[in-house]
Symmetry: C2
Subunit: 190 residues, 2 copies
């Protein structure tokens, strides 16, 4: 799937719009060119490097504020948050997150990212996890970047339960999915 420069740059632009947190390494692999070529493409297209793109997102004030826990207790960086609707976070898998033997990310870190995102989404001072049903669909390795996307599936105001679905991706591949049944102290206000 090697392309000529014009085609590649068009696709590159589109790819970065759709998956803004893709690394140059991942882009190089995707387009089967060198990392240097990707860097030159980005320069020509005036697309900032990944670190700048993340910083830009992080600097935009989140639309809402986390209520259920102090934001520093969230595992991963929240980059988007609509309370009682949806949320997105990024977790960089580092040495401390993987099995020493095979550099595969340990399940409880992916779980912690997803679960704390589910807690953070709840528009309530108290949010606790009652149940979870989770799948690890693809191994995650050291240095990969996991993007968790959470959304509310169902609100049961009467029982103060909220069902949240979290799907986590590396680039566009699903690596983790989970359904979290959350308990909250107040019924939802919608």
């Amino acid at each position: 799937m090697k392309k000529n420069k014009k085609d590649r740059q068009l696709l590159l632009q589109e790819t970065i719009v759709n998956t803004p947190f893709i690394t140059d390494e991942e882009l190089a692999e995707k387009f089967q060119v060198s990392i240097q070529t990707i860097r030159l493409d980005r320069l020509e297209l005036s697309i900032p490097e990944l670190r700048e793109r993340i910083k830009h997102v992080a600097e935009k004030k989140l639309d809402d504020e986390v209520k259920a826990l102090p934001i520093e207790e969230v595992i991963g960086d929240i980059i988007d948050l609509q309370l009682d609707e949806s949320a997105i976070s990024i977790l960089e898998i580092k040495k401390e997150h993987v099995f020493s033997r095979n550099q595969i990310a340990r399940g409880h870190h992916l779980f912690a990212q997803a679960n704390s995102l589910a807690v953070a989404m709840i528009n309530d001072e108290l949010a606790l996890t009652a149940k979870a049903n989770i799948h690890f669909t693809r191994q995650v390795k050291e240095n990969e970047r996991v993007i968790a996307k959470a959304k509310i599936i169902k609100n049961d105001s009467e029982n103060r339960r909220t069902l949240i679905e979290v799907n986590s991706y590396v680039v566009n591949e699903l690596v983790f999915s989970g359904e979290f049944e959350m308990f909250r102290s107040n019924p939802t206000q919608r």
Copy 2:
């Protein structure tokens, strides 16, 4: 349920045999006496204090050796292990395990204890979690001691899957239960 001394000491002995990791505080509450009374009871009955009881268990060589990961990567202390059969671990809930706001243990630590015990039980160099279905049945607070008990429910040699059930308790109360579907590189040898 206040008892006379003889009855209490009989019951105390029985309680410690059945739940060897119970603390003096928990015993005092159970028998509605002071901690000092419990200490005197233990002295009279020659029952060592909790720390000694745990040390004793930990010093007994585990019947089997953990294969799937270095033992220091297990979350909690393994006190019993029969590979491909059953295992028990203890996790003390400390400040770093709880939400700062309400001192309730964060779900991912209970998950990590149970999940790493499930990994440790597998008699294989490679063991990865495929799915999990978990329930948090009672809040765990700082300074409580969680005892996780894991056992194999089903071995599907053909697909190299092993189903493990983990139940975690504080004293005798169930606080967490989970079913973990584990992938292994080799079929079981039984």
